[in-house]
C-alpha cells in the first residue's frame, strides 16, 4: 500500500490490536477481572453472610464505589507500567522502532490498548454494583452513570501518570511499582498531610477522584472544621468541576509528556 495513504490512524488500530493480544496472552486481563470480581462480590458476601442487613442506599453506594480507585490503580499499573519501558528493557524496540511508525502513534496505540481493559474492569465492577443494588434495593441511583464517567476519567488520569513513569524509567517493574505506590500511598499521604494542616489538596488526582463517590451524596459544604482540644480537624470535599478539570489536565499533560519523552528516548 502507498505509504502516504496508509496513515497513522490505521497504524494505531494495528498497534491497539496487537497490544490487546499481549494483554490477553499474558493473562493479566483475567487476573484483573478476577480481582475486580473479588472486590465487587466480597462486600455483598460479607453482608449476606453476617445477615446484618444492607445500609441505606446512598451510604451503600458511596462505600461500595469507594473501592473503584483501588481497581483503577491496580489495573492501570498492570496494563500501562511496562507499555513503553519494556520496549527498551527487553530490547524489542530494536525491532519495532525501525518500522516506519511514528513513536507518537505507538504511544497512542499502547494507551488505547491499556485503557480498554481498565475500562472493562471498571465497567465490570459497576455492573456488579448495579445488579446487586437492583436486587437489594430495587432501584439504581441516577448518579451511578455520572460516577462511572468520573471513574473513567480517573482511569485516564492514572494511565497517563503510569505511561509517564513507563516512558521515564528504564525498567518495567520500577515503573509499575512507582505508579502503584505514587497513587496508592504517596499522593494520599501528601493529601492527608495537606488536609491536616488546613490546605485543600485540590490539585492531587487522588483527592479529586473523591467525586466518584461524593456524587451519590453531595456534601452541602466544601469544608468542615471539627474543633477538638486545642486542635482543628479539617475535612475537605472536592469540588466537582475543579476535580474534573484536575483529572483531565493530569491525563492530557502526562500523556503528552510520555509521547515527548518516548520520541526523544534513545535506544542506545
Amino acid at each position: 500500500m502507498d505509504g502516504e495513504r496508509f496513515g497513522s490512524f490505521e497504524q494505531i488500530k494495528i498497534i491497539v490490536r496487537y497490544e490487546l493480544l499481549r494483554h490477553l496472552r499474558r493473562r493479566r486481563l483475567y487476573a484483573v477481572l478476577f480481582i475486580t470480581a473479588l472486590i465487587g462480590m466480597l462486600p455483598l458476601i460479607v453482608l449476606k453472610g453476617l445477615n446484618v442487613g444492607f445500609p441505606e442506599v446512598k451510604q451503600w453506594t458511596s462505600t461500595y464505589y469507594g473501592y473503584i480507585s483501588l481497581i483503577v490503580i491496580v489495573s492501570g499499573a498492570f496494563f500501562a507500567g511496562d507499555a513503553i519501558a519494556s520496549e527498551f528493557e527487553q530490547k524489542t524496540g530494536y525491532m519495532l522502532f525501525p518500522n516506519p511508525v511514528k513513536r507518537t502513534s505507538l504511544v497512542i496505540g499502547k494507551f488505547i490498548a491499556a485503557f480498554l481493559p481498565v475500562l472493562l474492569a471498571v465497567g465490570f465492577y459497576y455492573a456488579i454494583g448495579v445488579i446487586s443494588m437492583w436486587a437489594t434495593y430495587g432501584t439504581i441511583p441516577t448518579a451511578t452513570a455520572t460516577s462511572f464517567a468520573y471513574a473513567v476519567l480517573f482511569s485516564c488520569c492514572v494511565l497517563g501518570l503510569t505511561f509517564l513513569f513507563s516512558a521515564v524509567l528504564k525498567g518495567s517493574m520500577g515503573a509499575t511499582l512507582l505508579a502503584f505506590f505514587t497513587l496508592f500511598l504517596i499522593l494520599p499521604i501528601i493529601g492527608f498531610v495537606l488536609t491536616f494542616t488546613g490546605n485543600e489538596p485540590w490539585y492531587l488526582p487522588t483527592y479529586a477522584s473523591g467525586i466518584i463517590t461524593y456524587i451519590f451524596d453531595p456534601p452541602a459544604k466544601r469544608v468542615e472544621i471539627i474543633p477538638t482540644d486545642g486542635l482543628k480537624f479539617y475535612v475537605f470535599y472536592p469540588d466537582f468541576l475543579i476535580s474534573v478539570i484536575v483529572m483531565a489536565v493530569y491525563f492530557i499533560v502526562t500523556l503528552l509528556l510520555s509521547m515527548l519523552i518516548t520520541n526523544r528516548k534513545e535506544m542506545a
Binding site: 500500500m1 502507498d2 505509504g3 495513504r5 496508509f6 490505521e10 497504524q11 494495528i14 498497534i15 496487537y18 493480544l21 499481549r22 496472552r25 499474558r26 527487553q90 530490547k91 524489542t92 524496540g93 530494536y94 525491532m95 519495532l96 522502532f97 525501525p98 518500522n99 516506519p100 511508525v101 511514528k102 534513545e266 535506544m267 542506545a268
Partner: protein, 320 residues
C-alpha cells in the same frame, strides 16, 4: 526531503555527513562521511566499540547524532524518520521479539504496520519463513526460540516487505556454521537482485564473500572505504591458498620463500598460503614456478580469504 546544499542525492541509498555521536564524554563516532550508492553491498568492518552499531542505530532512528546528518533514500533520518525507514529492512543488535507471539503473528504485525495488504502478507510471511528456514516453527511462540532462531526471524522480518535497502548488524551472530552459510546465501541473493546492503560484521570472510566494498571503522573514525579489490591493491595484500597432493619438504618451502614477489609463506599439512605482491600476471607466474621450479604437486588453488584480515589489521594498527 533533502535540504538545499546537501550533497546526498537519490543515487545514494545511504549518506552520512559529518556524523558524530558522543555518549556522555565518550566519542563513539567521529565525523563519519559515507556514501553508499544504490545496488551496492558494503561491508562495515571494525573492532568492538568502533562505532558500527552506533552508525546503524542512527540510520534506523534509534538514536540521534550529536552532530552531522544521516540520509536513507534521500530522507534525513532525524527529520523524516518514517519516510527514511519506509524502504528499509533492518536488523539491529541481537533481535528480540515479543515472546507471547508466534513468527506468523509478529511478521503479520510488522507487515501490517508497514501497510502490506493482508491477503498478500500471509503468502509473503510463509515465503520469508521458508527462506529463513523457520517454516516448521511458524506457529510456535517466540519465547521458546533459541538465539539462532531469533536471528533467523530477524532476517525474515528484515526482508518481509522486500525492501530495496537492507541495514544489517551482525546478521549471522549466534548461528551455527550452517546457519551462517544460509544467511550469507540469502544476502548474496539479495545483492544479486540489485538491492543495497549495508552489512556490519566482525566476520571478515563473511564480508569478503558477500560485499563488493568495505568501510573500515576504528574508534569512531573511518579508516578506509573502497572496493575490496582496490584495498587489496593499495595494500598489496594478495594471498592464495594452494591445496597440495603431498606435504612440502623444508627445502621446497625455502625455495618458495625465495621466489620473486613472495612476501610470506605459511604451510599446513597438505596446504600452502602464499602472500605476494602484484596482480593476476604475478599470480599466474607464481603458480607456474611452483609447479615447474619447485616441483610442487598442486591439487587446487583459490584466493585466500585472509586478505581482508591483513588489510583490516594493518589499517586498525595504523589507525591506533
Amino acid at each position: 526531503m533533502l535540504n538545499e546544499g546537501c550533497e546526498a542525492t537519490f543515487l545514494e541509498a545511504i549518506v552520512t555527513e559529518g556524523l558524530t555521536k558522543y555518549y556522555g564524554k565518550i566519542l563513539a563516532l567521529n565525523d563519519l562521511n559515507l556514501k553508499i550508492e544504490k545496488g551496492r553491498c558494503v561491508g562495515f568492518l571494525g573492532p568492538n566499540g568502533a562505532g558500527k552499531s552506533t552508525t546503524i542505530k542512527i540510520l534506523c532512528n534509534l538514536i540521534r547524532p550529536t552532530r552531522g546528518k544521516a540520509y536513507v533514500n534521500g530522507y534525513n533520518t532525524v527529520v523524516e524518520p518514517t519516510k527514511a525507514l519506509k524502504d528499509v529492512g533492518a536488523i539491529v543488535e541481537t533481535p528480540e521479539f515479543y515472546s507471547y507471539l508466534t513468527p506468523m503473528e509478529i511478521l503479520g504485525y510488522f507487515g501490517r504496520l508497514r501497510g502490506m495488504a493482508v491477503h498478500d502478507l500471509k503468502q509473503r510471511i510463509l515465503q520469508v519463513l521458508e527462506t529463513a528456514k523457520l517454516s516448521e516453527w511458524a506457529n510456535t511462540k517466540i519465547g521458546k526460540f533459541s538465539r539462532g532462531m531469533k536471528q533467523r526471524l530477524g532476517v525474515a522480518q528484515a526482508i518481509l516487505h522486500n525492501p530495496p535497502i537492507l541495514i544489517l548488524d551482525e546478521p549471522a551472530l549466534g548461528l551455527d556454521p550452517r546457519g551462517m552459510y544460509e544467511i550469507r546465501e540469502i544476502i548474496k541473493a539479495i545483492v544479486k537482485e540489485g538491492k543495497t546492503v549495508f552489512l556490519a560484521s566482525h566476520m571478515l570472510h563473511e564480508i569478503q564473500e558477500t560485499c563488493d566494498s568495505v568501510a573500515l571503522l576504528n574508534k569512531g573514525k573511518l579508516l578506509a572505504y573502497d572496493s575490496i579489490a582496490n584495498l587489496e591493491n593499495v595494500f598489496k595484500a594478495k594471498k592464495i591458498y594452494v591445496e597440495l597432493l603431498r606435504p612440502l619438504e623444508p627445502k621446497q618451502i625455502g625455495k618458495i620463500e625465495k621466489l620473486e614477489n613472495v612476501r610470506a609463506v605459511s604451510t599446513g599439512e597438505k596446504s600452502l598460503t602464499i602472500s605476494f605482491e602484484g596482480g593476476e600476471a604475478e599470480q599466474a607466474e607464481l603458480l607456474a614456478k611452483l609447479v615447474k621450479d619447485v616441483g610442487v604437486q598442486v591439487v587446487s588453488f583459490k584466493p585466500s580469504l585472509e586478505v581482508l584480515e591483513e588489510v583490516y589489521l594493518q589499517l586498525v594498527k595504523e589507525g591506533s
